[in-house]
Symmetry: C2
Amino acid sequence: MNHNAISLQHFKAADGFWKDEMELIRTKVLPYQWDSLNDRVEGAAPSYCMRNFKIAGKLLKERKEPGTSAKDLVSTLRGCESVPEDPKHLEDKFYGFVFQDSDFSKWIEAVAYSLINHPDAALEKTADEAIDIVCEAQLDNGYLDTFYIINGMEQAFTNLRDHHELYCFGHLTEGAVAYYEATGKRKLLDAVIRFADYIDSYFGPEEGKCKGYPGHEIAEMALVRLYEVTGEERYLKLAQFFIDERGKQPYYWDNEKHLEKLGEGERYAYNQAHRPVREQEEAVGHAVRAVYLYSGMADVAKLTKDEKLWDACKKLWDSVTRQKMYITGGIGASHIEEAFSFPFDLPNDTAYAETCASIGLIFWARRMLAYETKAEYADIMELALYNTVLAGMDLSGTRFFYVNPLEVLPEASQKDERKYHVKPVRRKWFGCACCPPNLARLVGSVPAYAFTETEDTLYMHLHIAGEVTKNVQGKEASFAVASNLPWAGNVSITYQGQQETAVKLAVRVPGWCKKEKLNVPAHIAYHEENGYLYFSGDWQKGDMIQLEFPMEVKFYQANPSVRETIGKVAVKKGPVVYCAEGVDNGESLHQYQVLADQPIEEGTVQICGKQFPCMKIKAVKDMEAWDEKNLYQEYHLTKQQETELTLIPYYAWANRGENEMMVWLRQH
Amino acid sequence: MNHNAISLQHFKAADGFWKDEMELIRTKVLPYQWDSLNDRVEGAAPSYCMRNFKIAGKLLKERKEPGTSAKDLVSTLRGCESVPEDPKHLEDKFYGFVFQDSDFSKWIEAVAYSLINHPDAALEKTADEAIDIVCEAQLDNGYLDTFYIINGMEQAFTNLRDHHELYCFGHLTEGAVAYYEATGKRKLLDAVIRFADYIDSYFGPEEGKCKGYPGHEIAEMALVRLYEVTGEERYLKLAQFFIDERGKQPYYWDNEKHLEKLGEGERYAYNQAHRPVREQEEAVGHAVRAVYLYSGMADVAKLTKDEKLWDACKKLWDSVTRQKMYITGGIGASHIEEAFSFPFDLPNDTAYAETCASIGLIFWARRMLAYETKAEYADIMELALYNTVLAGMDLSGTRFFYVNPLEVLPEASQKDERKYHVKPVRRKWFGCACCPPNLARLVGSVPAYAFTETEDTLYMHLHIAGEVTKNVQGKEASFAVASNLPWAGNVSITYQGQQETAVKLAVRVPGWCKKEKLNVPAHIAYHEENGYLYFSGDWQKGDMIQLEFPMEVKFYQANPSVRETIGKVAVKKGPVVYCAEGVDNGESLHQYQVLADQPIEEGTVQICGKQFPCMKIKAVKDMEAWDEKNLYQEYHLTKQQETELTLIPYYAWANRGENEMMVWLRQH
């Protein structure tokens, strides 16, 4: 019953929402990011990524520096402050964060998906050349992480908690597998296999082997992917080892020499290593790390039929989605340690809600689905995708958000240090540029989240337009999907196969839809289970299933335990959350009170030349002018005037300059 | 027309509110703080204050250490982390913050006031012995700051921005003057005069003298006080010099070697030295520093008739009280740099509102009053006093708040690093213990804030019970004041003089009182001006003025530009702000909605064996249980039940264990 994602080769996007997004990735994001990786974007924080590979591979010139001082190591860990701004003054050493290699890995993964969706010889040539540079850096023993290759291998694997070697390995693996699947070219995959074998010889349950595990998770799910493409069971076993060792006492990391102490609270909770993973019930610590771990746990639980591990995944899923997730699918409420806060602590104006964390939530959701077919997981996947993830990028594909707040006052972002992390406009790039290439690789592989398959069933979790193919008992079953998502709930699915097949089709009924309407050929049987409609029968070419998921715009409220949203409402239509911006409504958005019992009027608005739906909602505002001489005055009932607020899709905010924004609006 | 504070000798407290507070200071706070200064309070952060004086004065033993390393200096500046916890391991060096000397200075000042109010031979003996220790540390040239005496005088006055020498001098001066005025003993005063003369020889406008000025203000107002007690004009001139130099470009501090960079924003705004003080219009930076500076500015403006300086004081006053002050009289909204935030940014749950900042606001208010007799200044003095200042201490006088939030969720204080500074219960002491002794000296000298005088007029700004005397043309005019403040607005003032005098009496009509009622002997004329009732006539023994300031409990609202209080109300009766605590109301206070159009019922409540008024207000709460499976759901109108909230005086909160607290309540 376990699902696998479909191969991207088996989907061809049709014109519409996701084809546009993928085209944006291909034509804008990937070239822009390639320039970023090569430090060629003016006014943007340099990446140093490809430069580090060249230094490590001795392609630039011989290194003069013997290594990096402890002080530099600290700066490197903390950020890029120590890096000279003028590239002419760069020395032949490692620059950027310890995890800078992963910028390349995410980019090559995104390139791979793009090449499947849209072959592009020039892009493939660039990618091949980049792979040549990367592989040149690999040591004879298979090790491939430029930070230690440049700074001295004697320190390799000595700071697993902070130093991201296994994280970089994980990303490189994901990139290599994707590139191999896209192009059939093995060079990077072979390099990764050698690296993986080296790691496998170093870590493991056997006596004499290192009992450490990654400080930043991802290797777990990457190793599963490598296992799936190679069939080599040792990679799955290594993933399982990392998961099993995590949080065991005495703590492995206690005997490492760490340059930075972690914050207060339970030791190693930041890294989800405070206790064995099967005993974890509350999602804690760094949000991206957490969901990457949980993804790996779900993978391993599925493949090893580990019910205890699965139970932990379910508890952690509930912890996140019932107590620690914004209505936008954002997770990780606190900018301090980019972490989950305590249950129901979801501040809007200091929210962190990192783009990568929502991407990781999507990774995890698909893996939960792969174990258990329940629409709930796909609902969250869809929510995170259409809101926080897409908000991570501007409409031009060249500006990015790392942090995705639900309320912004530009003055506060400038003057209040507590909100410095909340940017009112997107940035060109980041010193720590995890989000932009992560976003590119996710958007490029959306079909693999939209569709999964078991032996005889094709699952449609997200309703994206295109043609999807599945092999069943040697025969090709093919469906053409037309969809108006995310703006309307009309979906039609037409069987395109040349032959009859025994394929079953399962289509998710979105959680936001109260009662779906169906039009199904008489010879196709169907039933509903756990939020999925299952169709089966003798498919004939042209068979069309018409689905209508009535998509009404509604006001939403949060669990009253959430202090920051009490007495407030948000507007959502289908999976899309709406927000009010200053440019449409004037400033001081907090002074509006929404009439949540009044109907919402739908309209359209132009943003950067593109048409978007907008929502007009009724609100009231105090009429009386306040005497500025008094900061406080006796309360009296104030006359109010009726007015209106215009709301736009959350993900499209901050495309029209710096202004206020608000998702949760005070209710009258 | 300029006022001076009355001498404390001219007031004798009657039984009631302030006598109780002063008794608490005398019997509990002063002995407790003396133990603290001598590191004898178990479980409390050590002060090291008296120890440092003994080391500096070679009373403990010879110093072995040649000085303090740069690393230790940084630790010293940042806090007490580097101090060994076990006092047996202490070396013979300086411990604590660079400003640790000032703990003594504030304590001796508080002792002085207490000795006036209530002579106490044992306390005076302890104080004399403490003064002996302190004076032993003074160098031959008059210098008296243990940090540099112990660590090496070659560094003295080299880091005026951070190192608090002039701040410690200021506090020592205030303490010395007070002790001299209380006891007539000159030892400490003479020491301070020698120190002042040394500083005067070092700093000044003359060529060759240092053009620096204090990084933490207070010397300005302290020098004015020294000028007033000695009549030596050079001290006033030195105060004026410090004020005039401040913020001049090029910045003096740019050429000092500072160990720590200050935060972002305009350079030196943290110290109010970003521009010349006469050009400052917005209160910025560290709140305590700011109001200490503004106090000195008002002093100098009054004495030198400097209208430009006065104009700056007025603009800054408006900036604070119209845009940057909590309803509790708390100021300094941001815990980052303990600073003012931008206008109208007054978050309740991350509020800093340091006790010392409100104390400084009271210093400043009296000095504004001394220049201009407007009730507005005294209103703020009263507000800060009865709320934030008194909240700084528990009802036993042995636990203290540094930070005075307007909303507390204990779980957030424990788990959310953004709120670590917000303590849900008061502490025994602080490494940086500025607030407790500052509170003691203010409470002990409240009569000097309640009453000021000009040549022929006695001003009553606060209505505190006791007997107050004034000399007019050689004759003694004496009034007995009975008052129910802060709980009720009945005040009677009875002329007690044995002789007729030409004294005039001015009594403030509180801003919270809409229309006062009066009962005045026929031969006493009166009129009202700028919020004061002026009484004059041929006073005869027994003449009684009866005043009633109707004190109604009311809901208040804030300027709608304050985002954090929009749609919320607070309860205030007269000067006293009320708050809801969990112990009376259960938790989840945010779920209540107050019916602000319903009457408020007054009652009483016992807190730690003391009776306090309480307010019962009508509220509603949602009746429906929330399905915990959903973090968000479609909005629908929920059935609500009527309920009640009990509110207690804000300053009495957190005396019954750890629980939620809320001043601003959501309005229905």
